[in-house]
Each structure stands twice: as C-alpha cells, then as structure tokens.
C-alpha cells in the first residue's frame, strides 16, 4: 500500500483510484456504521475521496495513510450528521439500503446492529480499519482506557450474540 500512496502523492490518478478502491470495504463499513444510510455513506465516501486527493501531500509518512484517511472519513460523516440535525431536528433518518444490498449484507449488518452504539465505532476502527487503540482514542476524542474498555465489552457482546444465534 505504501507504494500506491507514494505514486498517488505524485498525482498518479490510476494509483490513487486503486488505493482508494482497496479501502472501499473499510470506508463503507465505517460510513454505514455511523450513518446507517447508503446514500449518505456514498456522499461521505465520495467527499473523502476528493479530500484525500486534494490533501495527500499533507501525509508525510505513507505508513499512516489508513489512519489519516479514516480520520477524514469520520469528519465527513460527522458533517453529514450535523446537517441532519439541522434538517431533521426530531425525526430519525430511516435506513435506505436497497433490498438487494440488505439481503447480501444482512449477516454483517445484523451483527453490527446487535452491538451497542457506543461499542460499534470502536470495534469497526479496531477490527476493520486496523487502527491502534491510541489512534482510535485520538480520532474519537476519548481516553485510551475508554477505548480498551469498549473493545472488551464489544467483544463480550459479540460473543453473546454469536452464541444466542446458534
């Protein structure tokens, strides 16, 4: 991935596309976990792609690409959540997954829905995006101890869900 990052930093659009596509699963899972809506997730991801293209020169160490990109994606998701509050102050936004998407991804979405909201993002960032607990602490603005506690509880909750379904 580091070579792709470096080529993309030299404004190689093919390398950049390949790089971002390689992160699509992570990006979608993260955006969906925050927004629970495919249209909003699509907006957050496309804005993230643009911001990454624009700001890639800021990234001095290619090793930190995924952490850097995840931070941008979460900021874009937070922007959308803030706008939602302005537009829909009371009404909750309904999930708009298309039937085919819902069907194919149902196992993953059910698993995620079974997790308490407060554990969901920590679990996604740790297990899907591969971030360290210190990085998660920084991105989510919470103490590392809280991240570790939530990870531990999230794991327990997943184990319970797993046994319930069996």
């Amino acid at each position: 991935m580091n070579n792709l990052v470096k080529r993309a930093q030299r404004r190689d659009a093919d390398a950049f596309t390949e790089l971002m596509q390689s992160q699509m699963q992570n990006m979608y899972k993260t955006a969906w976990a925050m927004l629970r809506n495919n249209e909003d997730a699509a907006d957050a991801i496309s804005d993230t792609i643009l911001v990454c293209w624009e700001k890639l020169g800021q990234l001095k160490q290619a090793e930190f690409f995924r952490t850097w990109m995840t931070r941008i994606l979460i900021n874009q998701c937070n922007d959308i959540l803030r706008q939602r509050k302005k537009v829909y102050p009371v009404e909750e936004v309904r999930e708009t997954a298309r039937p085919s998407d819902e069907y194919e991804n149902i196992e993953w979405m059910e698993m995620l829905n079974g997790l308490d909201e407060k554990y969901r993002m920590v679990m996604i960032l740790y297990y899907v995006n591969g971030l360290k607990t210190t990085e998660i602490s920084d991105i989510l603005h919470m103490p590392v101890s809280t991240v570790r506690t939530r990870l531990s509880r999230g794991r327990n909750q997943m184990t319970s869900l797993y046994h319930e379904r069996r």
Binding site: Q9, E18, A42, L50, Q58, V128
Partner: protein
Amino acid sequence: MDDKNIVEMMQMEIRIPDIVQEKAGLTYEQIRTERTYQKMKRRKINRNRRVLPLVAAVAVLAFGTTVCAAGYLKWSRGLQNEFEGTEEQRQMLQTEQIAAPVSPEKNSVTSEGVTVTAQQTIVTDQFAWLSFKIEGYDLEEGKEPCFDEVHVSIDGNDGISYTSHFYDGLQQDASGQFVYEDGTRAEENASGGVVERFAGQDGSLEYIIWINAVTNDEITLIDSTADVRFRNLGTVHKAAFTPDLDAEWELTIAMKGSDAVREASLSEPLGESGAIVKHVKISPISIQVDYAFAAQEFTIEATNGDGENIQTTDHTEPPLVYGVRLKDGTLLTGIMGGGAARRYKETDTYMTANTTRHILDTAQIDAILFQKAVPEQDGPITEENLYVVPIE
C-alpha cells in the same frame, strides 16, 4: 467465540452498494477530468508561446552560487520541513552547493498586487526543489490557496515529472499526529479537519515545486535553467478551483546543484527475494540502488472506477530501501521520500532512486536497510523485517 472469530466476522467481505460505487466512480472521473483539463490548457499555452505577445511580467533570476563564510542561508519554512536535520547539516548542504540561496535583488515578479519571489533551490543530479515566497495575497481564513496552472520546463524541455503545492505548515510527529512547526498539536476546525497554517508570521505563503528526473535521461538538473510559470491564483476545495486573481508570473531560474555522492559496488543477495544489490549511490538527501533482479510479470484482479472487475498486469519488485544504519548503530528508518524505479528487462537489472526526508551525513552510514516484509497491520517496521546490507 475467540478474537479470530471476531476478526472474521468484522472483516467479512460485504457487497458495496451500487450507489456507493457509482458515486465513487463519478468522483474518480472528476479527478481525471480536472487533470485532463489542466493538461489541455498547458499544451495550448506551450504551443502559442512563441507567437503570443508577452503579457506576463518576466524576471530572469540568477541564484547566488558563491558561498560566503558567514553567509549561510536561512532555509524556507517548507524546505526546512521537507528535510529533517540540524542547522549544521543544512549548512553542509549549502557548502556542498546542493542547497543554494537566491540573489535577493533579481528574484521577484509582481502582478495584480501579488509578488512571487524565488527564494531557494536544492538540486542533485536526479531531484530538485524550488521554493517561492508569495506576498500580497490575502488568503481567506480556512481556505487553501492554489494556482490554476503551474508549468515547469528544464532547459526548454517540457517532458519532466514534477509535483507542486503550497506549504501548509503541518508536520507529522512519530505517531502520525499533525503538529505545527513549533511542535504544538494542530488545531481542528468545526468539521474536525486539521487547520493548516499556510501563512507564515509575515503573512506570506510558500510554494514548493519538486522535480523528479529519475526516469528522464534527457534532463540534467545540475547547472540547468528552470522556466516556471504560475497562472491565476485562487483557492481549492474538494479538488475544485475557485479563481480569484487573473494573472501570470513567469520566472527563469539558473540552478546550480551537486552530484557528489558516496558510492559502493557490492554483490549482496537480499535473502530469498532473488535480488542482489550491485551498487549504491548515497547523497545527503537521496539514495540510489542498482539491483540484479529478474522482475516477473503477474496479473492482478482489480475493480475500476466504474466498479467493473478488470485484470491488470504488474511486475514484482526487489526489496526497497527503508533507511540506513549509522556507524554508531543508530537505525534511521522510515526516512525515504518520493522517487522512482526503472526496470531494464534486457539485462535483468532494476534501479530505484528516492529522496530522503532526513539529511544524511554520508560518511557516517555503514549499512543500507531494505524492507524484507510488510507487517499485516500498519505501523513502523522493526529490524526483523529488514535486510541489513553493509556498505563498507
């Protein structure tokens, strides 16, 4: 259920919804269209260059090449950030004529109230950096400055590879956090994004052009002349340029530079990789390695911007340089910057040349470090993931 099961559950492959892939595809297309548009405009200007009346302010610049004992250059903010090093190491680059200041009398072009001043160059045989100071542009808070077009040629040759950007005042610390030049943690804006500091204390901006001539045998950077033209100044947001000033700034820069390097001829196999290190050339800011290596072609499955499955062909690479070991045992890792590679199929040889983000005292290097394996998780690479090749 153990940790392995949790990882499998969380990382299970899911279907990316059409709407997500479609919007991403449009975004990739927007990026490519923007680039195509830029290229078309550049070509048009180049073609008409000889017949159009000269409307831009032009200055012919001569970079100071005489090194005065007490006249050490104060490096620009951006270039100082580009290369980690001590004041002594920066002075050493000037003494060796790699870094050069600009004669202050002849280096400015003013148009529409904005003055562009060439202030410093760093030139080796394969790479060059040019730093420009931009004064008189009132950048709105929270905006990112951008030239609509930047065109660079070396000795009249347009076929060079270069990238350029406004210096944003940000650095990354060892843990990847963004910090400002004074080491304080970068602030966040209302959206949670990092707040850049484009403007220096005097309100000026800095623009940096990095030229990479590794893959172009026709270009000689040392003692060359760089023609640089900036056109239209404004701001950029989500890759869309918003014009502010319709103007042109054109500068001609006489560059110096040095190709002084430390060299070593070797025959050192890199484990089971099939690569043998044959030759290394180390300058204080770059490392070139020549390998004996028969690169193998392979096919990979990928998804294009439209979400379609495609097959592309790539080739294997030898282990790449990851840093150096100093004579006192210190490992300088993760210091490699941009660069390029060349593969010579006929002779089964391979060459890589990269800049370093750390100014090196070449006499103190006793080994080159090559990346053996990439850990599955992102993060620093440890010594067990490296090949150590002594160069004494």
